[in-house]
Symmetry: C4
Subunit: 202 residues, 4 copies
């Protein structure tokens, strides 16, 4: 098992998961060609559409993070391989949870499942990183002890925020929905606006 | 994130989007084995079939254009990566819009959505190109100022035509359908007949 | 557009088309846990299952043939690219036609569509080969004139057999079904039994 | 046909098969937002969810085993190619069998189909290995006669266990379900806990 195979396989799965999301968007029924009927149908589709949008970017972020990590790894061992499979397992659940939240956006149990799966995915991705950068020498040891601890703290924080968002669903569902929707923006927008034109590739 | 990963990931998504299109083609119900029933069923399938055909070639054209651009790029930065993800996001919507137009080919709102999504995809692809060739040095700076302005004008024109086609749906739906169907032919046929046998590769 | 991209993209599409075939296999309804009910349900599933089996191997054969050709090609031009897209277009129709034949295995019109699509795919693959090996120098010119003519004759024969099989559906449907089922075996079995252990790769 | 193409194609198919599994998870119907309704719905989903989980890891194991073999192969011949296609054929059936077992977890005939397909897949993978390592020189001849015989015995054992698990479904269905669920754990957990940090790649 080389690193390239793990990369190509994970890429394939992330690409399919992203595309499968759109299969949940069912064509609505339209009684006639009036604007009112169209607007009504599209409003009914809105929860599905919104959950498609934020899921697309959440999974895209997981993909980007996954690759930033794998890019720096030089070797693959059996444990890393199965941590990767575990990550893909939780990633595979997103299309189902996206459809679920699209159908029941006001149900706290359903809405809470989503950030819980994000927390589990974050935990596995963090374990994946830790295995490569801290516990083994699969990645070249360039980070200081302080940098490693900072990263572990950040990953823990990310998991905690997701679990907290899940808990908030039982206080007031919309808070959780707002957190899920805004979090990917908080990640993508700064990167997009940063004007850091230095290339990611060496 | 290397250029190869971005290419492979985008290839994967375009391939899946093209294949997912065919999932919208549902087997029709046939009462008996007569020609009349078969022709009737296939006629009923015609809007779905036609929307499958032109969507297939429209997405294939986006894929070809995407690769002509990426082929010349040498480096990838965070902004380009997220412009690429945005392009794939709009590309992902095509199977849904194809099914929608297949079900309601006479509804101006539904039909208009399709060229609007084409306009949005064109705009993102144009921003993608501009970021690599004009705003940064991700692609080698071989184009003259005049060539760059010509390309930007062409991309703007393409977006304008799509938005105009969307507007025309509210005048007479068939015009928009004809434009959507004919536009990919206008792109593919000349390339096909050109007899330019010089290889695209280096 | 490099040859590798065309290969990877086509591989991706063939892989997805093969997997999408299985989505047509719906879980049957079982009244109870008796053998009789199980056998009844599986018998009802048989046309779907059989059409899945032969479609899987027919598409696999197209994939293998496609790669034997592309393997020897050194360059790609615009025409070859669009002939490839046309081939993938017809390949994409197989899951739909497989489901159709699985639902109406006694309907001559439905059954005839399948070999017609095989004929169209064969014709495009033949044009693809001819463009690379005869009309251009995309593939190195190693074949004699006689070899080229033999190949063109064989491809024409293959198309003719498929069209003939389509016509036979209107005489007696089972003949066509047998031809579709047996043809892939005639291709795969000799290769499998040949014991030619020389590697395909140089 | 080079080894890389066979690898990439198989990777693609395994990735799609794994993702297609999740399509079988349908969003349940929830009457209201109470815990009782949610727990009831999720309990109803449990067989589907469990069959998704063990299928995911069973297919992942097949993928890992497939690559351990292909990694050591240096050449590909026609027979190996078609053994690979046969393996992918049986792998493709898993999503259907997973959905089937998820719908009828108490039906011995349905439950038995699953380990039978595992036995068939194991047999083909074993023939694949044997063709490359014993009957031909596609893989470099590094193994002793004893090692080869051990591997053939192990593969035979694996097939036998699966057929035995299938037979047990007619004694008491839960035994078979437990075997199917526990077997992947018996494979993954030791690898995971082994702390063998030596990289798999050279």
């Amino acid at each position: 098992m080389t690193k390239n195979r793990l990369e190509a396989f994970s890429d394939g799965m992330f690409a399919i998961i992203l595309t499968v999301l759109v299969l949940e968007l069912q064509v609505p029924h339209l009684e006639n060609n009036t604007l009112a009927v169209f607007v009504g149908a599209m409003s009914g589709l809105l929860p599905k559409l919104l959950s498609f949008v934020f899921s697309f970017f959440i999974i895209a972020i997981f993909w980007v993070n996954h690759h930033h990590i794998v890019h720096q790894i030089e070797k693959v061992d059996a444990k890393l391989l199965w941590l990767n499979n575990a990550l893909l397992f939780f990633a595979c659940l997103f299309p189902f949870l996206t459809a679920f939240i699209g159908d029941y956006p006001t149900n706290p149990f359903v809405v809470a499942l989503y950030p819980i799966n994000m927390a589990l995915s974050s935990m596995v991705l963090s374990a994946f990183w830790k295995h490569a950068f801290v516990n083994t020498t699969l990645a070249p040891n360039k980070l200081t002890q302080a940098q490693k601890q900072k990263r572990i703290r950040q990953d823990g924080m990310s998991t905690a925020i997701n679990l907290f968002a899940a808990a908030l669903a039982f206080v007031w569902v919309p808070i959780t929905l707002v957190i899920i929707t805004v979090m990917p923006l908080l990640f993508v927008v700064p990167e997009f606006l940063s004007n850091k034109t230095e290339a990611l590739q060496e």
